[in-house]
Structures are given as C-alpha cells and as structure tokens.
C-alpha cells in the first residue's frame, strides 16, 4: 500500500510511531496528483511547494518529540469557496478573477492548527450553484460527472489526491459528489461548523463538512472543524459496536419512489444486514415531501441572487451560462415567492422533528441513480419520465438543508456500470454521533473501507 492510499487514522498512527514521515506522505499524495489530476481536473490550485515546506516542519516536530495535533502531517484539500490567507478563492468562476483572501476561514485555521497540510483548492461547480462540477471528471469513469458542487473535493479524495477534503452543502453538494465518487460525505447540523470565510450560496441553507474515505476519518475531521468541542472520533471507536435499540426509519413515500433498481436492491440488502445487528427497521411516512423541491428553489434562487447582487450587475459576462441564468432569474423573483418558500421551510422544520419522535434516523438513497455522463442533462426512467440531472440529485438531499438537520452518505458497493453506490442516513439536529455509528456499521457490513478509484489514470 502506498502512503496516499492510507486513511487519516492509519497515516496518523504511523506518523505518531515515526514509521511514516509527513514528508513521505505529502510527496506520495502530490505524486498521485501529478500522475492523474491532468485527466481528472479535481484541483483548481495546487499548493505543492508550500505543502512540501509544511511537511518538512511537521517531520521536524515529530523528530523533536513535540505533541502532535489530530491531523499532524495529514494532506487535505479545500473546496475553492473557502478562504486561505494569501491565496485566491476562485469559486471556479471568472467573476473572482484577481481575488486574494486577506485571512483564512475559521475551518482552514482549525485544520492547520490541528497539523493538517493543505495540498490545494479543489474545483466547485461555479459558486456552488450546480450539481455537476464541469471542470472535473469522475475518477471511476472519466466520462461521468463527479457530481457537485464539491466535485473536485470528492474526486480528489476518491483517487488519492488528498486524504480528506472540505466541501459545502446547500442542497446536497457534499453528499451527492461523495456518493457519486464512492467516498464518505457528512453534512453537519446547520450552525455546528462555522461558515466564516466561506463564500455563501444561500445563507439560510449553507453548511460545511468533511469528505473522507472512511467514516472514522469523517468523525476525526468533524471533530477538528467543530473546534474540538466534541470527541467524535474517540466516541465512535468506543461505541460503534452497540446498535441494538436504534430505530431506523425506512420511508414508505418519496425517497424510494423513482430509483435505480440496483441501488434499491443494495439498500434493501443493507437494511437487512443492519436489522441483523439489532437495529429495528420502522416503516415511516415522511411529512411534507411535496414541499421540498419548490421551497428549495424558492429560497436558493432568491438568496443566491442577493449574494451576487453586485456581480450580476457589474460583470454578468463573467458568469458561466447556467449560473448566470439562475442568478438573473432569482433577481426577478417576487418577494412573495421567497416568503412562501420560507413558510414552507418553517413547516418542514416543525414537521420533521415530529417524525424523529418515532425513529432515531432514516435510511434513504443519497442519489436515485449513479453518476450521469458529463454531457447528460436528463435521466430517462423506465416509466417514461424524463428527469433533469440536477433535480434528481437534489430531491433526496434538500430536505436536510431546509430543516438544518445532519446527514451522512456512505459508499456501499459498486453498480454494474462500475460506478459507486451509496446509502444516506439522516437524523435529527445534532445526531452526528448516531449517524457516524450507523454509517460505520454500514461501511463495515458492505466490506469495510472502500478502495481508491482504480481507473483514475485512464483518460
């Protein structure tokens, strides 16, 4: 196994025992990036020279016997919406040309204080306003999308171009790319991780969270980006075995309605395996699902138009066509539409907690089908329905953004097309620990930590 293939916990363990040097690890990751990223396009900016310097310092700290942070010597990437002092925050947009951040985002500071080594900034769908990340290919199959908007982050983690990355999630933008690239993605409870220093998309829906190769690593990253307020990783190690008594809701409406048959089968198999561990499966009707998509659009369009108020008037030609159309349309949306969407959001925020009085969490698909081709606009379902790719990817995720609750996606196997399959667990506010425990069980029941994307070198 090469160093870039290690999980964070494996690498940190070897570093602490002086069996792996941060220099060796960072060089291995940077070599991997050099080998495959010209094909995949995950990185918008590689900070290789600085990373090598930081790795040298990290190595010296180990040799000196200094206390080490949780991420000491671990290479990580940041979605290019997140500020790093002295670096541009491109948002993968020409609108940001010439921008240089004057300070680092809180999450950047905390990751670096924990000893993490920044390898670079990863591509996002422009301003996080989309689900495909056109600059980036899926490491499992280059002709397919990695999803978005944190597509560069998920792709980099999936091929070994970073041991972890940070993404943002406004309507599934961590979970969708993580699912499509076969890695773990955690959208925390809204407000748990600070958004300071991160370009917003829709301020009342935005969240920031980790993308990793294992559930254990997601716990570790969450611990760091919440300022170390809770020992998620240690608690996960201690408590993950005992699952009996947990009530896992299996929705009888909406979430399984329009779904690829192999994903459906994989989820049924996983449900049975989880039930065998002592988890109780409970059929449940999820309330107000018909309001999810219209309220998501009503809020996201209006709030994004507010964020880009100046830019859409001063340099509209600098936006990509799809994002420009959305921002222009949002700029003309009447206030009453936004308010109607906010009222619907308030109903969801009242209705979904009631559901969690009956179950501890939900098990649902993250995406209804595997990664679309990069030139694909719609999915053709067997019943004749055509569904836009964006709608298909958002519809199973946006509920967690509107209500603010946490959700985790975990890879659970491979589709016959050779693309990854995923399961999503959604819980009430601040149920991250429970979701990590269930996620770890799902990971274990489906073969443990998943391999790196093996086709990444094939263009």
């Amino acid at each position: 196994m090469k160093p870039f293939e290690l999980s964070i916990s494996e690498a940190a363990n070897l570093i602490s025992k002086k069996e792996l040097s941060p220099v060796e690890l960072v060089n291995s990751v940077l070599d991997r990036v050099e080998e495959v990223d010209s094909n995949i396009g995950a990185y918008a900016l590689l900070t290789a020279d600085q990373a090598r310097k930081d790795a040298k310092l990290a190595e010296q700290k180990v040799l000196d016997g200094n206390p080490l942070g949780a991420l000491h010597g671990i290479p990580f990437a940041l979605k290019d919406l997140i500020d790093v002092d002295g670096l541009p925050t491109s948002a993968s947009s020409r609108v940001q040309e010439g921008h240089v951040a004057q300070s680092s985002a809180t999450v950047t500071q905390w990751l670096q204080e924990a000893g993490g080594i920044l390898t670079g900034k990863t591509h996002t769908h422009e301003f996080a306003f989309g689900l495909t990340t056109p600059q980036t290919g899926n490491p499992w199959h280059f002709d397919h999308t990695p999803g978005g908007s944190s597509g560069g982050s998920a792709a980099a983690v999936a091929y070994g171009g970073a041991l972890a990355a940070i993404g943002t999630d406004t309507g599934g933008s961590i979970r969708v790319p993580a699912a499509l690239c076969g890695v773990v993605g955690l959208k925390p409870t809204r407000g748990l991780v600070p958004l300071q220093g991160i370009l917003p998309l829709a301020k009342s829906l935005d969240t920031v969270g980790p993308i990793t190769r294992t559930v254990g690593d997601a716990a570790l990253m969450l611990e760091v980006i919440t300022g170390g307020s809770k020992a998620y990783a240690a608690a996960l190690g201690a408590s993950s075995q005992e699952l009996s008594g947990i009530k896992l809701g299996v929705p009888i409406n909406y979430f399984y309605d329009q779904l690829d048959s192999e994903i459906e089968q994989a989820l049924h198999n996983l449900q049975k395996s989880l039930a065998d561990t002592g988890i109780e499966l409970v059929e449940i009707s999820v309330p107000l699902t018909e309001t999810i998509m219209p309220s998501q659009w009503g809020i996201m369009l209006a709030e994004a138009a507010r964020v880009h108020y100046e830019n859409i008037r001063s340099k509209p030609d600098h936006f990509g066509e799809d994002v420009r159309l959305l921002v222009e349309t949002g700029s003309l949306l009447p206030a009453q539409d936004y308010l109607m969407a906010k009222e619907a959001q308030a109903r969801l925020q009242k209705g979904w907690p009631s559901m969690f009085e009956h179950v501890d969490a939900l098990i649902v698909p993250t995406v209804p089908t595997v990664a679309a081709r990069r030139d694909q606009d719609v999915f053709d379902w067997p019943n004749g329905i055509q569904e836009p790719v964006v709608e298909a990817y958002v519809r199973l995720n946006a509920g967690a953004n509107l209500t603010g609750i946490p959700a985790i996606t975990v890879p659970i196997g491979m589709h016959s097309t050779g693309l990854p399959l995923a399961a999503q667990f959604i819980g009430p506010n601040h149920s991250e620990m429970l979701l990590l425990r269930i996620g770890k069980a799902a990971e274990s029941l489906t073969g443990g930590a998943k391999p790196l994307a093996q086709n990444a070198q094939i263009s």
Binding site: T291, L325, E328, L333
Partner: protein
C-alpha cells in the same frame, strides 16, 4: 395565477431592478421565471390543503 412572462415584461422587471439584460437573453429568462414561479406556486396549494385539513380537524372537534 402565475403570468406567462414575455420578453417585454422581463425588460420592465429588469429595469426596475437595475439589471441589464441583453435582448437575446429575454426569451430564456422569461421561460425560466415562468417555470420557476409556477413550481414555487405549488406551495400555495399545499398551504391551502393544510389549512383545509386544520379546518376539518376543527369541525370534528366541535
């Protein structure tokens, strides 16, 4: 009832918002705004249903 937006109506709305829209974009924006507003308006129907349900509950209580 959501109006079907026309390029002329979009021009007027954009002027009020101090948003410059080139003529060749007006049709597309009109169609998109019509579509989006019609979709968001489905929330109105769900609100009405919810109110009616509450009224029915109230009737039963009475």
């Amino acid at each position: 009832m959501i109006p079907t937006y026309t390029p002329e109506l979009i021009t007027e709305l954009a002027r009020r918002q101090m948003l410059h829209l080139p003529e060749e974009r007006l049709e597309l924006i009109a169609a998109t705004l019509t579509h989006v507003r019609t979709f968001i308006a489905t929330l109105d129907a769900t609100t009405q249903t919810s109110i009616l349900n509450k009224e029915a509950d109230l009737d039963e209580t009475l």
